[in-house]
């Protein structure tokens, strides 16, 4: 009741005039429409400008299908790797104390801050067969990293690495280790505690991180463009395929492939919202005690 009272009166204290409120709302919605909504809808329309046949053909051509499958391979390999790493790393960062922790903590954010092209170049310098650090040695053993799916997986894992860690760390901090200690006093060993206590309580964070990693892995362009060599039907993922179609003047084909990618993205967005809703309900149950400074930062800023 009291809270409702405050919520009502807040409007007359700061919100000011109705006109001010409507102006801000209009500017905000207008900005989103022009920047996001209308452009996205346009792509859907343009994809079918040259007829559905061309769109279908572009997507179902052997190169198109290969690009689609290769993209899925990127996701299927890199996301589980990053999920395992993310969970272990979050636990290490939150529950363990050791020298060098701060360094690890800042290293994890690097992939968010580094340009994908720079990532690609860095991998190139390590793995190129002529004068890379490991490239010649690997080539001698018959392993080709650059211009092959292996290098692309390296690139994808690099750029999507921080998502799970950054989603799980704040959750772990918030729940504390009381429950884990309680489980231990009840005789659970490390594994049992992890599976029965820790993992269930961080599952929303993990899932959210997985969704974000998936979105990033699906759409990675810059880093993969550099290390893949963009060989049609061999190392071409869907984003690379889109750009190739555009550059070869099959514009509506490019839009069609982009629509396919956009749909995958929208599915991700939908999943994000579902999880956010489920997760928030849970969060409210945990942190019902008023102000939790810092938690906002960890999700909104640190994670992305």
């Amino acid at each position: 009741m009291a809270a409702r009272g405050i919520a009502d009166s807040r409007i007359n204290v700061v919100q000011g005039s109705r006109r001010a409120r409507l102006t801000m709302r209009t500017i905000g919605i207008g900005y989103l429409l022009l920047l996001l909504v209308i452009p996205v809808i346009t792509v859907f329309i343009k994809a079918f400008e040259d007829g559905a046949a061309n769109a279908w053909e572009t997507i179902t051509s052997p190169e198109g299908m290969h690009a689609f499958w290769l993209t899925l391979v990127m996701v299927v390999v890199s996301v589980p790797l990053n999920t395992i790493f993310g969970v272990v790393c979050a636990i290490v960062l939150v529950r363990h104390k050791f020298r060098g922790k701060a360094l690890i903590n800042s290293l994890i954010d690097l992939p968010f801050a580094i340009s994908p092209v720079v990532v690609g170049l860095a991998l190139m310098l390590v793995f190129n067969q002529r004068d890379g650090w490991f490239g010649p040695w690997l080539a001698d053993h018959g392993i080709r990293v650059l211009f092959s799916p292996i290098g692309m997986i390296f690139a994808t894992v690099f750029v999507s690495m921080p998502f799970v860690v950054r989603e799980v760390v704040p959750v772990l901090q918030e729940i504390g280790d009381d429950q884990e200690q309680a489980a231990r006093t009840l005789g659970a060993n490390g594994w049992q505690t992890f599976w029965r206590i820790t993992l269930p309580s961080i599952r929303w964070g993990v899932t959210y991180g997985v969704v974000l990693s998936t979105a990033r892995a699906l759409g990675e362009f810059g880093a993969v463009a550099v290390v893949s060599g963009k060989i049609s039907g061999v190392t071409e993922t869907l984003p690379l395929y889109v750009s190739k179609q555009y550059e070869t003047f099959n514009v509506s084909g490019a839009y069609a492939a982009a629509v396919l990618l956009a749909l995958l993205g929208l599915a991700t967005l939908f999943a994000m919202n579902l999880i956010e809703r489920g997760g928030r309900k849970r969060d409210q149950a945990i942190t019902n005690t008023g102000h939790t400074p810092g938690t906002g930062l960890s999700r909104g800023e640190e994670t992305r």
Binding site: M1, A2, R4, G5, D8, S9, N12, V13
Partner: protein
């Protein structure tokens, strides 16, 4: 400044927070709005402040209808339960805020801030941030901030609610002294009847959006008009339509006129006071409040059968509230 609230009603959706409330507050008085949570006391305070717009009714200050006057222009000082400290400002800037808004000269502001901080005993904390203060210190800072603009009315919403017991008691005494010094019309909200009786000259008891009774603390305790006031202001035993204060229960070893038989379930020694929990042959459990001396003289023991008699009781029935006293038998 005198305050008159005329038939104010305020709804939040389906919830009626204030239901046709009428109230008068004398100039320079110290009034407590007392009631359980959800009784509408905070809403009433916020309506007086101008933080809440009533659906119907008026608020009159010094004979002027201020119902449509925004909070900025009402000349009220408001203290929030959680202090509402400006976290990004030092104590100095917090207290100076209202004066800066009014564009007072710098030197005057500084002088006034120092005076006020002296008044609330925070002289040494002038350059601290609120985050570096304790709860009690933050509340005193909030008071100084509210007083800085020389409000004609000081409104405090559960001012001591978030503090621990000891600090709360200190601040109560301090608030009383402050009121004696500054003489500003003060209204504070509390759910603690002891706090209200300790500090206020006038208590307004509220329940379910209505005012049950307003009056001096003693009057409310001695002559409650409703069952609610009787049971909210002070401890009480209930016998059907009759209410008895625990200290008005007489215990004896022989049957007397008007006495009922009861078994002593438990005796709790609280120093000077002794509580005796009784289980009557029929009806709800009772408890009696005795002095240690009385309890010793009666040689009470647990599981003993005694005879209990209300020496003074309150009856609330269709004939209206009244007090019935028994002659010592």
């Amino acid at each position: 400044m005198s305050i008159v609230v005329n038939s104010v009603t305020k709804r939040f959706g389906d919830f009626v927070a204030l239901d046709n409330v009428n109230l008068e507050v004398r100039d320079g008085s110290l009034t407590a709005l007392l009631g359980p949570s959800g009784s509408g006391k905070s809403t009433l305070l916020r309506v007086i402040a101008g933080l809440e717009q009533p659906d119907t009714g008026t608020v009159v200050m010094n004979g002027q209808d201020v119902t449509r006057v925004p909070v900025q222009d009402r000349g009220v000082g408001f203290c929030f339960q959680h202090y509402a400290a400006f976290k990004h400002m030092t104590v100095r800037d917090n207290v100076a805020f209202g004066l800066k808004i009014r564009k007072r000269p710098k030197a005057e502001i500084e002088k006034r801030v120092r005076e006020l901080l002296e008044l609330v005993h925070l002289e040494g904390f002038i350059d601290r941030y609120p985050g570096q203060l304790s709860g009690g210190q933050r509340q005193r800072m909030a008071l100084a901030r509210a007083l800085a603009v020389e409000p004609k009315v000081l409104l405090l919403d559960e001012p001591f609610g978030a503090l621990d017991a000891k600090v709360r008691e200190e601040l109560r005494a301090w608030l009383r002294r402050l009121h004696d010094e500054v003489h500003v019309t003060t209204i504070f909200v509390t759910h603690d009847q002891e706090e209200a009786m300790d500090v206020a000259e006038q208590i307004v008891v509220m329940n379910e959006g209505r005012i049950e009774q307003a009056g001096a603390p003693r009057e409310l305790y001695e002559h409650p008009k409703t069952e609610f006031v009787m049971s909210f202001v002070g401890p009480v035993n209930r016998l059907g339509y009759e209410f008895v204060r625990p200290h008005d229960l007489e215990i004896g070893h022989v049957p007397k006129q008007g006495a009922i038989e009861a078994m002593i379930e438990r005796i709790v020694h609280l120093g000077f006071e002794v509580r005796v929990e009784l289980s009557p042959a029929e009806g709800d459990r009772l408890w009696a409040q005795l002095t240690r001396q009385q309890a010793e003289e009666l040689e009470l023991a647990e599981n003993q059968i005694v005879y209990v008699r209300p020496a003074r009781k309150k009856v609330f029935d269709e004939n209206g509230p009244r007090t019935e006293e028994l002659l010592p038998a």
